[in-house]
Amino acid sequence: MSFLSVQALRKRFGPVEAVREVSFAAEAGEILVLVGPSGCGKTTTLRLLAGFDRPDCGRVLVGGRDITPLPPERRGIGFVFQEYALFPHLSVEGNVAFGLRGLARAERRERVGELLAMLGIAELAPRFPHELSAGQQQRVALARALAPRPRLLLLDEPFSALDAALRRDLRAELRNFLKGLGLTAVHVTHDREEALALADVLAVMRAGRVEQVGPPEEVYNRPRTPFVAAFLGRANLWPGRVLAILNGRAEVEVAGQVLCAEAAGTAPGARGVVFFRPEWAEVGPGPFVAHVQTALFLGDHWELHASCQGLPVVLSAPCAPCAGVVPFAVTRALWLSGPEG
C-alpha cells in the first residue's frame, strides 16, 4: 500500500466537471508532480487532497488511513498557495508560528528560528509580508507550511509569481530541500520543465482525468497518448496506418514511406499516429526529405521547422542546414493508436 493513495476522485462545480476520475499514488518521501494545462483540474485535485473542497466521490488515503471525511485542520497536510496567502496582519515570525500550537513560547521561537535559518531568511523574522519580495514570500510560505511538521506537503504552483531565472534556481533548491527532509509532496504546475525536473512520479492531467502516471523519464519517452507526448516536449505526430506487426514492433505506412515504430496492442490495418521527438531523428542520409522553412539557433543545437510530404516536422540538427532541402532518418518512433487529439 502506497503512503498516499488517491482513488477515483470526482468533483463537479455546478455544470462543470472539474475532476472526472483521478487516481494516483506516491510512496513515502516521493515528490509527485501533477502537471497539465490550465483548467485541467490539477488545482482542484490538490484542494480535494487538502480538504478545502469535498469530493463528490472517491477517497484519499494517507498512510493507509482514509482522510476523506476529515476537515482540513485535522489532516496534518501542509499547503503552499500560489499567491502564498501570507497573513498580512502578522509578521514573518507570526506567520511561521501560526500553526505551532500547544508548544511553549520558547519552543515555538526555536522552531521558527530553525525553519527560517534552514530557508536562509532568518533576518526577515520581524518584517511584514508587504515588505517582502516575491521570492522571500515564497520561502516564508514554505516555512509556514512546514512548521507543524506535516505528513504531506501540497504545493500549488508556488513558482508562478517568480521570474524564470529565480524559478530555475528555486526548483533545484526545493527538490534538494524536500529530499533532505524526506517529505512526501504533491506539487502542481503547468510548467513541463519544472514538472520533469522536480518529479519522482509524474501525473499528466487533461480535462479532469489523469492521462498517464509514471516516472518522468518514462512518461517523457513513452507517452501513451498524443496529448502527453505533445505536452511534455517537442513532438512530431504523423497520421499513419499499421501494415504489419513484428516482434512487438509495427511497420507503419507514413508520409509515403514505411517506418518501424515501437507499438503495443495494435493490429494490422489500424489507424493512428506515429510519434517521434526531434532528437529521435537524424539529419543526414535517410528516407525522408524535409523542406526547411525556419531554422532557429538555440545555443547547443539548431531547431529546424520544416514540412515533409505536407506534414509539419521539427528536427534537431548540430549545425546550420546548408540547403533548403535536407534528408533525414527517424531512429526511434512510437506508435500511438486511437484518434489523434
Binding site: E73, G78, E83, A85, P88, H89, L90, G99
Partner: protein, 512 residues
C-alpha cells in the same frame, strides 16, 4: 500649479472643518465661568452616561451586525441583494422616528397592548437608548464588515485551516484581525454619532452629555456655556479618532499576492437556514418594519393631512440640500483622501484628522459656529443656500473620505506614476489614473453623505435660507407637535427619496 490645487483642496477640506471648532473655543474662552461648571458632578455623571452608551451601542451593533454581515457576505444567502438592502435600510430612517415607534409599541396604550393584549415595558434608560440607537446604527457596522468580508482573500482562511485551525479559530485569528480596520472605521462613525445624538436618546429618557449641552443652549440661550461644555466632546472625539487609528494594524489591508483572488466559497447553511432567515427577518422587522408600520398607522389617522404643495416643497429642499452637500463633500474629500494616502508626515495626519474632529461636535454647535462666521466674516454668504451646503458638506466630509481613501489605498501609486511618465501633471495624473478606480468609492461616499444630509436637522434648521425646508425638518416639526398624521407623509417621502441612494451605495461594492 496642479499640485497646488490638490494641496489647496485638501487644506480647504481640513481647515474648513476647523471653523466651527474655532468658534467653539473662542466662545468658550469668552467666559471662564463655563469651564468651572464642568466640575459639577452632574456633568461628570452625564459624561459617564454618554461613554456607557457609546460602549453598549458599539458592542450591540457589532454583535447584531457581524452575523448578518457573514450571512449576507459569505453564506448561500449572499446573492440576495434585496435582503442586503433591507438589512441596511435603517440608515435612512430618522432616529427619533425609531424612538417614537419603539415607545409606541409598549405600555398600557401601546400597539401590542391594543392589538394582542401584551403589556411590555416601554424602552427607557440605558437599555432603551441602546436598543433604539442600535436599531438605526448597526447598518454602518454591517455594511463596513460585509464589504470587508467580500474583499478578504479566501486562501488566507484555507491556509489557516491547513495549519490546524478549526473554523472558529480561523474566524478569531484570521478573519477578525482582517476585519478590524473596517470595524474600527465603522465604530468611529457610530461612536461619533452616539456622542452627538440627543434627540432619540432624550425621548428614551436617558440623559447624555450632548443633551445637557443642547439644553444649556436651547433653554438658556446660553452660547458661552454651551460652547464651554462642548469642549469635553471635542476631547472625546479626538480620543475616538486616535483610538481608531492606533493599535497593531501594521500590514493589515495589504494584499500579499499580486493576482486576482478567487471569490470566497459560500457556506451552506443546511438546517441552520431557517434560523438564519429568522434572525435577518427579526433585524429587518425591528429596524425597518416597526418604524415603517408606525408611519403607516400615523398616515391612516388622516391621509389628507398634508397637501401636495408642502410635500413637493420639502422634497425639492431635501434634493437640493442633500444632493448639493454630497457633491461638495466629494469635491472636498477627493484631495483630502489623496493627501491621506500619498502624503507623509504629521502635517498630513493633522489635516486629515480635522474634519473628523469637526464631525464629532454636536451639529447644533457646528451650525451656530457657521451662523456666527457667516454674519461676522462672510455676510455675502449668510442666509444663502451656499452656506448651508458648505456647512453640510464640511460636516459630512469624513463620510465621503472613508470610501475614497479606501479606493485610493487600493490603487497602486505606480498607476499614478505611469500616468505622469506619460506626460500628465500631478492633478491630471491623479484624475486620469485614479478616477475610474475611484468612481466606486466616490459614488459610495456620495450616497452616504446624501443619506445623512437628507436626515440632518440642526444644521439645516440654523443655516437654511428663508422659506427653505426639507422633508426631515418638516417631519420633525410635525412629530414634535404630536401631529403624527402630518409627520408621516413627509417621513415616508424621505424614505422613498433615500432608498435609491442606498441601493446605489450597495451596488458600488465589489461584485460578488
Amino acid at each position: 500649479m496642479q499640485a497646488a490645487v490638490l494641496r489647496g483642496g485638501a487644506a480647504c477640506a481640513g481647515l474648513g472643518a476647523l471653523v466651527p471648532v474655532a468658534y467653539l473655543v473662542l466662545r468658550a474662552l469668552e467666559g471662564g465661568e463655563g469651564l468651572v461648571q464642568l466640575l459639577q458632578p452632574r456633568h461628570l455623571t452625564l459624561l459617564g452616561n454618554t461613554l456607557a452608551l457609546v460602549g453598549t451601542v458599539l458592542v450591540a451593533d457589532t454583535a447584531l451586525a457581524l452575523p448578518a454581515a457573514w450571512l449576507l457576505g459569505r453564506s448561500e444567502l449572499a446573492r440576495r441583494r434585496g435582503l442586503v438592502a433591507l438589512v441596511a435600510a435603517p440608515v435612512v430612517i430618522p432616529g427619533y422616528i425609531v424612538a417614537l415607534a419603539l415607545l409606541g409599541l409598549g405600555g398600557d396604550y401601546g400597539l401590542l397592548a391594543r392589538l394582542v393584549g401584551w403589556r411590555l415595558p416601554r424602552p427607557q434608560g440605558l437599555w432603551g437608548a441602546t436598543l433604539c440607537l442600535t436599531l438605526y446604527t448597526y447598518p454602518y457596522v454591517f455594511l463596513s464588515a460585509r464589504a470587508a468580508l467580500l474583499g478578504l482573500d479566501p486562501s488566507l482562511e484555507e491556509a489557516a485551516r491547513s495549519l490546524g485551525l478549526s473554523p472558529w479559530g480561523v474566524a478569531r485569528r484570521v478573519v477578525l484581525p482582517q476585519l478590524l480596520p473596517a470595524l474600527r472605521a465603522a465604530w468611529l462613525v457610530v461612536g461619533l454619532y452616539v456622542l452627538g445624538d440627543f434627540g432619540a436618546v432624550s425621548l428614551l429618557r436617558y440623559e447624555t452629555y450632548s443633551y445637557a449641552v443642547y439644553l444649556r443652549y436651547a433653554g438658556a440661550l446660553d452660547r458661552t456655556g454651551a460652547a464651554a461644555l462642548s469642549l469635553p466632546l471635542l476631547g472625546l472625539a479626538a480620543l475616538g479618532w486616535a483610538a481608531s487609528r492606533a493599535g497593531g494594524g501594521r500590514g493589515v489591508g495589504y494584499r500579499a499576492g499580486s493576482g486576482a483572488s478567487r471569490p470566497a466559497p459560500r457556506a451552506r447553511l443546511g438546517w441552520a437556514r431557517p434560523l438564519a432567515l429568522g434572525y435577518l427577518a427579526l433585524l429587518v422587522g425591528l429596524g425597518v418594519g416597526l418604524p415603517l408600520g408606525t408611519l403607516f398607522l400615523w398616515l391612516l389617522q388622516d391621509p389628507q393631512a398634508v397637501g401636495g404643495r408642502a410635500l413637493a416643497h420639502g422634497l425639492g429642499g431635501t434634493a437640493v440640500a442633500a444632493g448639493g452637500a454630497a457633491l461638495l463633500a466629494l469635491a472636498l474629500a477627493f484631495p483630502l483622501a489623496h493627501r491621506a494616502t500619498r502624503g507623509h508626515g504629521w502635517g498630513t495626519a493633522v489635516l486629515v484628522s480635522l474634519p473628523h474632529l469637526g464631525h464629532a461636535l454636536p451639529p447644533f454647535v457646528v451650525g451656530l459656529g457657521w451662523a456666527f462666521l457667516g454674519l461676522r466674516a462672510l455676510p455675502f454668504l449668510y442666509g444663502r443656500l451656499v452656506l448651508l451646503l458648505l456647512a453640510l458638506a464640511l460636516y459630512f466630509v469624513p463620510l465621503a473620505f472613508g470610501p475614497l481613501r479606501a479606493a485610493w489605498a487600493q490603487l497602486s501609486p505606480r498607476l499614478e506614476e505611469a500616468a505622469r511618465s506619460l506626460g500628465h501633471g500631478p492633478l491630471g495624473a491623479a484624475v486620469r489614473s485614479a478616477l475610474p478606480g475611484l468612481v466606486r468609492g466616490a459614488v459610495a461616499g456620495g450616497a452616504l453623505v446624501f443619506l445623512r444630509a437628507a436626515t440632518e436637522l440642526p444644521l439645516t434648521f440654523l443655516l437654511s435660507p428663508l422659506g427653505f425646508s426639507t422633508l426631515a425638518t418638516r417631519t420633525f416639526a410635525a412629530a414634535s407637535e404630536a401631529l403624527f398624521a402630518q409627520a408621516a407623509p413627509f417621513a415616508l417621502a424621505l424614505l422613498a427619496l433615500a432608498l435609491p441612494s442606498l441601493v446605489l451605495l450597495l451596488r458600488m461594492e465589489r461584485e460578488t
